[in-house]
Subunit: 335 residues, 2 copies
């Protein structure tokens, strides 16, 4: 393990302390608990509020999308661990602007259990909460069992679309519908080249050979769909693209939002080489890339690898994508 | 070597192809050569134009800062290699808006030789070119030999400040002066935890033990000031901060721009842990952080490690820092 650390057990606390020190005009926390992260200007009265949450180690996911035009708050767990229901409740109470709260988060057991408890507790405070689960990782289960899939980088598009709808004054019904629509149009698949190392564990989460890759591995090291020899960038791009497009009804003339996301240790240069082949392949299909997102959007500490996320756009989703957003990690300049 | 690649010898060409495909509304190239990268709307008539250049493998440096409010063009070399004088000239000709061109780039022998040749060739085309060399790396030579120092992440502040001055309509004298002032107020030092691997070489550039770090290593693996056991984040932060502040006349009441830059493989979480201690230490000195930049700004492929850059602000630099900027890799929302 080669990490820039102090006490591994204080990894998340110190990361959060650094974060609040870096972005005091944008971020604050509720209930005296730094794990209850909210927009500095929360609550936004008269608008639907969006919250997420989950384990740490995935920056910018989850907390990096709290800001104007995206999320209002985030419950922050320990590395790869769910935050508590109490923390989610405190975030919920602090961000509620009188129009209800929408939870959008990845489909992981601990998070689901705690967010569901928080939903019940919030109801006792007369805060209406709805939930949209992110299950965009096509490698994590078959299409027949899509409701069991894990949530990965595609959640960023859900945050963006639903956040825009809320910022525009949409009702809780409308914001929920926007999130569901974004996710219905979004799929992701990834490839891992190396393991991450949890700070408190101090050793790699899994072993993978020097010449190997694992297609479809999850962002906590969950087993993928196949392991094999490391292939070329173009072969990897094609395999990810085929899998992602298989469930999206994409035809010539369509336009997409395309995200090539680095998992932590993979240089930006390699992400652009992957994106190149995705774009070339789409071009031969007559499909356009409306906006490209190439960079680190959802990581797994220092894992090497990448994921491909595609959201198929229509006029409605495109307008919501264009809506301006600003967080410490993500800026969308309005069109 | 575990990289997402096709032919290692096409690494830069394919990266560039991906880049132009990802950002067609922002980036274009001159003279039919993708290595001659310019703003899509070049030239901007009636304004001073800024250019940079250097080897590839450092994204977002160099080309990532071409865009509104920053640079107008960039000559792109092979991995860790200077672009040619001809490529610099073609960039210069394409971006020249009638008010002269300022080159801002890192102090590396090949780049200096080629940019100087390009300057002479541009003069024959009646384009006035000035040069500001970036030499912010305090570890690369003593203060007495500061003119021999290398340029690293501090160049981003020079791009930002000079780019703002040019965008505001400053003359070539004024833009040059702004760049020089920014650099006079800026210092950087870094730490490396692991080597990068050049795609065409296929093996690490240097060896470093599992429990070792090297303070002051350059972004191509140039020797640092000392190698020793890997220390805690707080110890590293203090060592970098002491070295950087030693040459900046920083006192209680001053305000700074602070950049904690990841070299490629170090997770964002660790960068925030480093930033935390920098901020705490400045706080005890009564020094404020006006704006924090925590992320990957100048990398060395998949090197693990970080650098600390500080620019001491005055009212003038602060206003130029606040000026809006937008590139595919860097967005500054105006204040």
């Amino acid at each position: 393990m080669k990490k820039i650390l102090n006490d591994p057990n204080r990894f998340v606390d110190e990361m959060l302390d650094g974060l609040y020190r870096a972005h005091p005009d944008q971020l604050a926390y509720a209930a005296g608990d730094p794990h209850c992260l909210v927009r500095a200007d929360a609550p936004i009265e008269g608008k639907v509020a969006l919250a997420t949450g989950g384990g740490s180690g995935h920056l910018p996911v989850f907390l990096g999308y709290v800001g104007q035009g995206m999320l209002n708050g985030c419950a922050v767990g320990d590395v790869f661990q769910s935050p508590s229901a109490d923390q989610m409740l405190e975030v919920t109470k602090r961000i509620h602007g009188g129009k209800g709260v929408l939870y959008i988060y990845g489909n992981y057991g601990g998070d689901v259990m705690n967010f569901d408890m928080a939903t019940e507790m919030a109801a006792m405070d007369d805060i209406e909460v709805r939930t949209v689960l992110v299950r965009d990782d096509v490698a994590s289960a078959s299409e027949q069992r899509a409701e069991t899939r894990r949530g990965v980088a595609g959640m960023v598009f859900a945050f963006k679309i639903a956040g825009a709808k809320a910022d525009q004054g949409g009702s809780l019904d409308e914001v929920e519908a926007a999130a569901l629509k974004a996710l219905a149009h979004t799929r992701t698949m990834g490839v891992a080249l190396s393991s991450c190392t949890l700070p408190a564990a101090g050793r790699p989460t899994f072993d993978i050979g020097e010449g190997e890759m694992e297609i479809g591995m999850g962002i906590h090291g969950e087993k993928g769909v196949r392991r094999g020899p490391l292939e070329s960038a173009d072969q990897i791009a094609e395999e990810l693209l085929e899998a992602v497009l298989a469930e999206l009804d994409v035809h010539s003339g369509d336009r997409l939002a395309v995200m090539v996301n680095g998992l932590g240790a993979t240089p930006l240069e390699e992400l652009y080489i992957l994106f190149r082949q995705v774009h070339r392949s789409l071009e031969t299909r007559g499909v356009g890339v409306y906006q490209a997102f190439v960079g680190e959007y959802a990581t797994s500490l220092e894992m090497a690898g990448a994921s491909l996320t595609i959201m198929k756009l229509d006029d409605d989703l495109q307008a919501l994508l264009d809506h301006p957003a600003r967080t410490p990690f993500f800026v969308q300049v309005g069109k």
